[in-house]
């Protein structure tokens, strides 16, 4: 059972390695969106450090939604999704595997880029540490809920925009706790509460979304 999950993840990693272009565009999108904000808000470091958590988190949301619309679409287009659905393994593992693969490919790099952008927003060191931690706990939520949206909008025209419309409201708790963690460290309140709530939300989505995504896949492939 677990071997199928690992096989799906390894398959996606290999496919992403072969097609570095998509991966690069998503990371550059994240950097560019974040770098636009100082131009809009102004260079004042105090102001920037206050909005840094929110800006980085919203950019992470948008970057993951950008890459999620093709999570199942490519496999659906060339027929390999059907073959995987016909494999003698539960569909839940396929949905979970694809979501985790997406998290490894598109979620973790956000974590590595965030400190550089944190410095750009003159965040102090401990705030950058909490930002990375909140992204580490929060990005699985983005991939898991996003996989539900991707499965629901499989094969629809305008799927990408529709996916954002459907899933963005569901991202709100992750955004609030994630960005809140950074603000809490800045104001000295300590981010344990936010991070633990974010972790609780992540565990809940981990338990709920693979089943819903699997059901949505079966509905969409019909």
């Amino acid at each position: 059972m677990l071997r199928f999950l690992i096989a799906v993840i390894r398959r996606d990693l290999r496919l992403a390695a072969r097609r570095k272009g998509d991966w690069m565009t998503s990371q550059f999108f994240f950097v560019m969106v974040v770098s636009m904000f100082p131009l809009g808000i102004g260079p004042d470091p105090v102001m920037l450090s206050k909005v840094a958590g929110g800006v980085l988190w919203v950019a992470a949301l948008l970057a993951s939604l950008l890459s999620l619309s093709r999570l199942f679409a490519d496999d659906h287009h060339d027929g390999s999704l059907e073959q995987m659905l016909l494999s003698p393994n539960p569909t839940v593992l396929l949905a979970l595997g694809k979501a985790l693969a997406h998290w490894l490919i598109y979620g973790i790099p956000l974590l590595l880029i965030a400190p550089v952008l944190g410095v750009q927003f003159s965040l102090p060191a401990d705030a950058i540490g909490v930002l990375m931690l909140s992204l580490l706990i929060g990005t699985p939520v983005l991939s898991l809920l996003g996989s539900v949206g991707a499965a629901l909008t499989l094969g629809l025209r305008g799927g990408g925009v529709l996916l954002t419309l459907l899933i963005l409201p569901l991202y709100v708790p992750a955004l609030i706790f994630g960005a809140g963690a950074v603000d809490a460290t800045l104001s000295g309140l300590g981010a344990e509460a936010n991070l633990s709530l974010l972790a609780a939300f992540m565990v809940m989505t981990l338990l709920v979304s693979p089943w819903v995504a699997a059901a949505a896949l079966k509905v969409s492939i019909e």
């Binding site: 027929g79 003698p88 393994n89 492939i221």
Partner: protein, 225 residues
């Protein structure tokens, strides 16, 4: 001698696309060593019937049984013994044919070594292009990669949706050989095709979906419906 018990049975099956009922009260069964040839005009529901048999879509009414059990109950076992080749090849363009084969085998829990994959591909006439990304292959060659993956899957029941499209004469002859071997070894096939097939020595069970049409009527009829 393959036993003659019916392995795949269908009870008054009905299928609809959107709000239109394509066919209803369809009954047939298939034993080992038989080939079910599904015939009918375009848009009559041949592909829909095959997708129902794979379990990907659900019928409006009726039931499909595999070894006496409904599909929904023994889905995993059924999918282990069934392989499906639809209009799409299920091949990833970035991977080479060998990688595609080994990946498909790994996902359906079948051990397949590098050599076995290469032998399967060269048997099917793709010896020259083993390490090229599938993207550069022609449609016919990609079809053969899908057929190679069908053979290596070693499934009892093959469900093929117009497998001959896009293949040259050698390809067609190759498939006829594959079908003959598979059925003679006790395998089962459900397939649709518009081209004539010379499958002597294979027990063929014809199944008509929709009204029987002569050549000329076929074009007019399907546009009016």
């Amino acid at each position: 001698m393959p036993d003659t018990a019916a392995v795949l049975t269908v009870h008054d099956l009905a299928c609809a696309r959107g709000e239109r009922t394509l066919f209803s009260d369809m009954n047939f069964q298939l034993c080992q060593g038989e080939l079910l040839l599904v015939q009918g005009g375009n848009g009559r529901g041949k592909t829909s019937l095959l997708r129902l048999l794979t379990g990907l879509s659900h019928p409006l009414a009726g039931e499909i049984r595999w070894r006496g059990e409904a599909l929904a109950d023994n889905r995993e076992q059924y999918h282990r013994e069934m392989a499906y080749l639809g209009h799409l090849n299920g091949i990833k363009d970035e991977l080479t044919p060998v990688e595609n084969l080994r990946l498909a085998a790994e996902l359906s829990r079948i051990p397949l070594s590098e050599q076995e994959a290469e032998r399967a591909l060269s048997d099917i006439g793709l010896a020259r292009c083993l390490d090229l990304p599938a993207r550069v292959l022609s449609f016919g060659q990609r079809r053969r990669v899908a057929l190679a993956s069908l053979v290596t899957a070693g499934a009892l029941l093959w469900i093929l949706d117009e497998p001959l499209t896009g293949l040259d004469i050698h390809g067609v002859a190759l498939i006829e050989g594959l079908l003959r071997d598979h059925v003679s070894r006790g395998g089962m096939v459900v397939m649709t095709t518009h081209q004539a097939l010379s499958l002597d020595g294979v027990r063929i069970v014809p199944l008509q979906v929709g009204p029987v049409l002569t050549k000329i009527e076929e074009e007019i009829e399907c546009c009016a419906s």
